[in-house]
């Protein structure tokens, strides 16, 4: 459904993606993990067709939500969701309402996006992506600045989208959340894919990239002591 075949990219002469081979299909929830600067966002932008040389997917089949996505104007939440219908050039009210509903912001439809909480605004931006009725969702840090409850709710929503046959590819910083919700984990470091496996199988590689330690229960645990000792 979505694939990169030996894709490389560089920024200012510096390689940010090196020979990336990746493909994913319906029903998968792929979490992209890795330290800052690993090339996760660039990888996602390549999948979205935003890099020179990358193939742009059909806008009706793929919705992309960038990191810290916001709307430049103080639109109402239903107007924001309606932007998701632009690839169709229609105002399919049913699709918009369904998107608002599944993202839990239907009761806020007439509120302005600048006047709701950060978590609600994040859901509104997600509703915009859902309103396209896409087959694939590409999301950059969809839960980065949300409280744990809101983060779990959004990840739950994404997991059910994947269960229903959709494809979710999301950059996630929180390895524990990725392990809890994703069906597949891609671990990146320095522009390369270090591991690409079921979350539990990929966890050791992720832990290594982050400098984490896996506990007895294989849950990632921060090695504060080691870092404190080093610096």
């Amino acid at each position: 459904m979505i694939a990169l075949n030996g894709f490389s990219a560089s920024l200012g002469g510096h390689a940010v993606l090196a020979d990336i081979r990746f493909s994913a299909g319906p029903g998968e929830f792929v979490a992209i993990c890795g330290p800052n600067g690993a090339g996760k966002t660039t990888f996602l932008r390549a999948l979205a067709g935003l890099l020179p040389g990358s193939r742009r997917p059909d806008p009706r089949e793929m919705a992309y939500v960038e990191q810290g996505a916001r709307c430049a104007w103080n639109l109402t939440i239903s107007e924001v969701a309606a932007l998701g219908r632009l690839p169709y050039g229609d105002m399919n009210a049913a699709a918009i309402t369904r998107a608002l509903d599944s993202c839990g912001v239907r009761h806020l439809a007439e509120r302005r996006i600048g006047e709701v909480s950060g978590g609600q605004a994040r859901r509104a931006m997600l509703a915009r992506a859902f309103a396209t009725s896409p087959k694939a969702l590409l999301l950059d840090e969809p839960v980065a600045d949300l409280d744990p409850h809101a983060a779990h709710e959004i990840l739950h929503l994404l997991a059910s989208f994947a269960k229903a046959g959709g494809l979710v590819i999301a950059v996630l910083h929180a390895v524990d959340l990725a392990a809890a919700y994703a069906t597949r984990m891609v671990v990146m470091a320095e522009g390369r894919i270090m591991a690409d496996d079921a979350p539990l199988a990929a966890l050791p590689a992720a832990a290594k990239c982050f400098g984490l330690e896996l506990g007895e229960d294989r849950s990632p645990r921060l090695l504060y002591s080691r870092h404190l000792g080093e610096h």
Partner: protein
């Protein structure tokens, strides 16, 4: 929809008033005065004001910045400089269409510079700063042209023109300016969906199927035609593009596409009103002559800039 009807009704009302008010006061004028003086003046106020209003709305949408305005961003200044060069070398006396052509070339250069800047994903404030730099550059060149003016008459003529005005314009001015302004407005009016998509940022807009560079090119073309031709016949008139979309958003909503057509009508109404005010001022106040139209719009618009700046401050 109701707001749109109301706006066009006020344009019609102001246009009728504009046909009936003159230096001699209020009344139905001679056919000759009506046709040769009042009609061009009224029609030009509608065209120039409408062009400035919709250009402001499009620039604000394309650059995602409520402070964007053809004047503030230096596009007006570049148009004025282009027109002055044509003036200066006397080309406009030999070949009338050279004046709007010069203004449009200036506006196109200014617009392209800004869009190139905006394409590098500059933040809102730095874009406005780039516009201010462009504006300062245009002003410096205008000052250079003025200081090198061949005679005091040329100097006075250019200075007067820079202050903007619509008095003594003839049907030939109208014939010169109307086609490019109308074409520009037609281009800009069709950009609504594209500007809606851009409100999510250029990357997301591209994944929604938008051709971003084509959109910016169309914005440039429309603004260049409307603002350039407007500046050529009316001189330096600022703040219309800033004030009008800002006044209309509470009525028609914030969606960039929803602001376009109302801004066309709103700009026309605002400039008609300001021009009426300019004509009425000598009748009501002890003034020797009409205040310049560009001076009036600046007096009305500058306080607005402060107000908008306060609203967008983080």
């Amino acid at each position: 929809m109701r707001a749109g009807l109301l706006l066009w009704a006020s344009v019609a009302g102001l246009a009728i008033a504009s046909l009936l008010v003159g230096g001699a006061g209020f009344g139905i004028p001679d056919w000759l005065i009506l046709w040769d003086i009042r009609v061009p003046r009224t029609a030009l106020a509608i065209l120039v004001g409408g062009g400035l209003g919709i250009s402001g709305a499009v620039l604000q949408g394309a650059l995602r910045n409520p402070l964007a305005d053809p004047g503030l961003l230096g596009i007006g200044g570049c148009a004025a400089f282009g027109a002055i060069l044509v003036f200066y070398w006397g080309i406009s006396a030999l070949f009338a269409p050279a004046l709007p052509a010069g203004a449009m070339i200036g506006a196109a250069l200014g617009c392209a510079t800004l869009m190139a800047f905006a394409g590098q994903a500059l933040s809102g404030p730095s874009l406005i700063l780039a516009g201010i730099a462009l504006s300062a550059f245009a002003s410096a060149f205008i000052a250079l042209a003025l200081s090198l003016a061949p005679n005091p008459f040329a100097l006075a003529e250019i200075t007067f023109w820079l202050m903007g005005g619509l008095e003594d314009r003839s049907l030939s001015h109208l014939a010169l300016a109307a086609p490019p302004i109308l074409l520009g407005c037609a281009i800009l009016l069709r950009l609504g969906r594209r500007l809606d998509a851009l409100s999510l940022g250029e990357s997301t807009a591209a994944t929604l199927g938008l051709d971003v560079s084509r959109t910016l090119l169309l914005c440039c073309a429309g603004v260049t035609l409307a603002v350039g031709a407007g500046a050529a016949v009316a001189g330096g008139i600022g703040f219309v593009g800033l004030v009008v979309p800002h006044l209309l958003r509470p009525l028609v909503g914030q969606r960039p596409g929803a602001v376009l057509a109302p801004s066309l009508a709103g700009g026309a109404a605002l400039l008609l009103g300001a021009d009426l005010l300019a004509r009425l001022a000598p009748l009501l106040l002890p003034l020797g002559s009409e205040p310049r139209l560009g001076v009036l719009t600046a007096l009305l618009g500058a306080p607005f800039l402060v107000r908008i700046a306060r609203q967008v401050a983080p």
